[in-house]
Structure formats: C-alpha cells, structure tokens
Symmetry: C2
C-alpha cells in the first residue's frame, strides 16, 4: 500500500532517489554534489533538500539495503561461510559498492548511525536465533565483523591481492574461518 502512487511529487522523489543511488554508488558521497544529483534527475537543486532534508539523509534513504542483503544469509548453516564468501567475491551483490561508499562516508553522523544499525540488523541479528551453543549472540556479532572484514577488503580499502585472487581460493580460506566462527567451541 505504500509504494506506487502516481503523484507527481512521488515520481520526482523516486527520480531523485534513483539518481542519487547511481551517482553515490559510482563516485562516492563526497564527490557527488547535490547539484549533480539534481541535474541527473532533471530537477532544481533546492527541491532535493526540500524533499530529503539534507544530502546525508538523501544518501541514507537512497540505499535499499534490506532487499539486497536478506538472501545472503539464507540456506543451511553448515555451508554458510563458503556460500557467503563466494557470493561476495563474485560481486553479484550489487549492494556491495554502495555499502563501501557508506563506510567511507561514515564520518557523517547520520551515515554513521545508519551503518551501525545496518551491520547489526543485516549481518548479525538474522543469525542470533539460528546459532546453537554458548555465546550464540556474540558469535553472530563476530561473524558480522568478519564479514565486514572481507567486504572492506573489496570495497573500502581495495586490497588488490584479495580482489584478484581466485574466488575459490578465498572461499576455501576465508569461508572456512567464517564457518569456524559459526561453530560452537570445545
């Protein structure tokens, strides 16, 4: 019931959001000006702010993370480490680039808040109830941290060696370590 009005203002808002997502993803938060977004969407710079309040909030609202990430942690726990690593390395997850942009812009308060919530909500919490054994909640959060590590290598600090390594080699090593974090100790 929320999505597709044919209001003019909703169409404009969607156009701005689409332009913003595209430009932020391609160029990052700093390099993308409100004027660039407005021009791309074919509107006046002022209405961008009028609709979204600020460039920061527009950035946050232009990310449609949940839809893209939910599938990542589905499927059997026993092979989750490998599957997640493979999915990330293959780069089909088109959410990865803008996630990198979010981290690199997390000096901004609103973006930092959103990053914080996103990582916990998307990568840790879905696992909490599924994990068995002691420290289940902690291990879910540490799994999330470990995911953030490989994601950072790919789209935050751009480790060429990891980016160009054979996918299955990375899967074998990093996937194995991720899997261990899911496994109760002892």
């Amino acid at each position: 019931m929320t999505a597709v009005h044919t209001d003019r203002s909703s169409l404009v808002k969607d156009a701005i959001r689409d332009s913003a997502r595209r430009l932020f993803t391609a160029q990052g938060f700093e390099a993308t000006g409100v004027r660039d977004i407005a021009a791309d969407a074919g509107v006046n710079p002022a209405i961008v702010i009028r609709h979204f309040g600020s460039k920061e909030r527009l950035f946050v609202m232009s990310i449609d993370a949940p839809a893209k990430w939910r599938a990542l942690l589905e499927g059997p726990l026993e092979t989750l480490g490998e599957r997640v690593t493979r999915a990330l390395l293959r780069g089909q997850h088109n959410g990865l680039p803008i996630w990198g942009a979010m981290v690199r812009a997390s000096g901004r308060p609103d973006i930092h808040d959103h990053l914080k919530r996103s990582v916990v909500a998307l990568f840790a919490e879905p696992l909490v109830e599924r994990l068995a054994g002691p420290d289940a909640e902690l291990r879910a959060h540490l799994f999330a941290a470990q995911l953030v590590g490989i994601m950072s290598a790919l789209v935050v600090y751009d480790d060429e060696f990891v980016m160009h390594a054979p996918v299955e080699s990375v899967v074998a090593h990093y996937g194995r370590s991720l899997q261990l974090t899911l496994t109760p100790s002892g």
Copy 2:
C-alpha cells in the same frame, strides 16, 4: 639529520601535527576544522595549509602508525590470533581510534590511498614471509581483512555488543578464527 632541529618552523610544524592528531582522534576528520587545529596549536589557519598543503595531507601526516602497530604482529605464530585479538580488545593500542577516523574519512582520495597502503603494509606484508603452506600470501591478506573486521566493529561501526563483551570470550571465538586463517588447510 632529519629529526630535531630547533628551527622555529619545525617546532610550529610539530605543534600543528600534535594538535591535529589530538583533534582528529577525538572528533574525526569531518568535525575537525582547519581553524580548530590552528587555534589549538596557537597559530594562524593559513600556515597550517602552507606547511602541509591541505587538510587531507595533514591528516595523513599526523598519523604515526608504524611505531604503534609494529609490535602487534610480533611473537610466535601459533598463538598470534588470540594475542592480537586480546591486544585490540583491551584498547591499549592507542592507534585504534585514529585508524577508525581514517576509515570513516576514506572517501577523501588522499586518505583512501593511505588507508589502502597502511592495511597492506602493517597487517598483511609482515606476515607473508612467516606463513608456511600454500596460498601464504593470500592467507596473510585474508588475515589482514579479518583484523580489519574486528577493528571496524570497535571503532568504525561501533558494535556495542562486541565492545562490551567479555574480552576473553571474544578472544576465544575471534582469535580462534584468526588463527585458522594462519593455518594451512588440508
């Protein structure tokens, strides 16, 4: 020949660097203005730029990373995962906060470059020659990625659950996974 001149300009430069490091660490890159740094150092805003070229380059030059991080990866490989995790969690590493500031400001080109080089040089390369078995270089880089993961939880996205968890619990789980990455597979 390099270090301690008693030149006035060198003293000024050191004062600026010290103020910059302190403020950047406490408030982050965005929230710290050139004027703030200048005021703290007791100099004019213009000479900050004159001495360092730009705010970005000042940030990079105010980090004295190598001195602080070198010790982290020393000692026997067999227990490195645990020891590194414990050292990070105890927060004695006063390099951690400004590392977080660097990641959160890595949307800026110069800072991104420095981050990229730092992670590889400080966390991956020191291990390459020490690791045995296949994919030694890749595993060193993946170990670095994994370190970045826990560091990010602590000072980038601020996962309260990880930050407040018992140190030895985190050491047991994350340290164990780190250690596995160091261990040849098969």
